[in-house]
Subunit: 218 residues, 2 copies
């Protein structure tokens, strides 16, 4: 039986914001702005992320939007921040069954990860984030946070699979795993050019990673 959360797929929670002083309505406003902005980013890309469109999407005035975020880059940074938080907590909340034969847990996690990157939301968001990260140091930092969480997650499983490895080796392997998996986005992500060969690629990547971990020599 699966866990309620975690389990068969990665659960990336809806965006939230740090509660701020003031009425609860104000927080709702911020959260709504972030979520609709994310929707816009996913559906139409960064180019469509204009203050007017966001305001329209929220059914509020541009003036009101400016009340919450005094500039566009404030809004964008808050959005990136919220996105990073959502993925970090997705990593932290993931719980796996530790039963089964050696490597089964790892294989399971790899499959879950590859399931998430094929998601429309994840494919679109990360392709946008990568482009932004090339030019915005802040975005790059958030991206690194997300990947650090993913590395933690895999390092733990690697540690359980190969208990004799020291922490540095675990984290090195885990980083390589995440790098390998993340890159699959471009091939088997949503609407990506090799989505039709998804099954085959998942199988190969799974096997390769499990073999890599089992055969690793410090």
């Amino acid at each position: 039986m699966m866990n309620q959360r975690g389990g068969t797929e990665m659960v990336v929670p809806d965006l939230t914001a740090q509660p701020r002083q003031g009425y609860s309505r104000g927080n709702q406003g911020v959260v709504q702005i972030l979520r609709k902005s994310q929707k816009l980013l996913v559906d139409e890309g960064f180019g469509a992320l204009t203050l007017r469109r966001i305001a329209a999407e929220c059914g509020m005035t541009q003036g009101n939007l400016s009340y919450y975020f005094k500039s566009k880059s404030d809004l964008v940074m808050a959005l990136i921040d919220a996105i990073a938080t959502s993925y970090r907590s997705a990593c932290e909340n993931l719980e796996l069954e530790a039963d089964g034969e050696t490597g089964a847990e790892l294989r399971r996690l790899v499959e879950i990860y590859l399931g998430d990157i094929a998601t429309r939301r994840t494919t679109r968001i990360f392709t946008e984030l990568w482009a932004m990260a090339s030019r915005e140091e802040q975005v790059r930092a958030r991206l690194k946070e997300i990947y650090d969480s993913a590395v933690d997650m895999f390092a733990a499983v690697v540690g359980r699979t190969r208990p004799e490895l020291d922490d540095e080796a675990r984290r090195g392997i885990a980083l390589a795993i995440v790098a390998i998996l993340e890159g699959q986005t471009v091939f088997i992500g949503h609407d990506m050019p090799f989505a039709d060969q998804r099954e085959m690629l998942v199988e190969v990547v799974c096997e390769t990673i499990v073999a890599m971990v089992l055969r690793w020599e410090g």
Copy 2:
């Protein structure tokens, strides 16, 4: 001794265009526009790719730019096209030394590929292309062309490394290799968050891929 072309690193040629009817000056114009557009895309991203900026970069009028490309999307598509061609020919022109022990050629090619993705040009261009590919089918098609060339390249090497494998298996493995390598862009590409762990990641990925090819069971 290395080959003149091919050899120690991937050589992505400068952008060119199909010669058109008219004066040679016209062709120079088109080529200049494409190259300066690429420069702008690499340096400042798709958002900076405006007709005015391109014209300024070329030292020509916006009106003249419109003479060459009647709309912006015409220009952008020609640019993507030229970029795809440049990478395809980079793949086709690559020649490797086939001497050395088993797997040496493969390892060499992997290192060359990873060398290219760490390039400023390649990192920036591909992160932009991925974002565009999510929304523009034409971009996706060009991207697929590029990857198909890369797959061909690796399939040949895989064939030489494991001559007993049939063509389908070769191409399957090659696709997995390219997918694994391409994804490293986001981690060890130019200005990317794990560039400082580049050496270690290259080593692990190299080993993993070579092991995968040598141990593959049809």
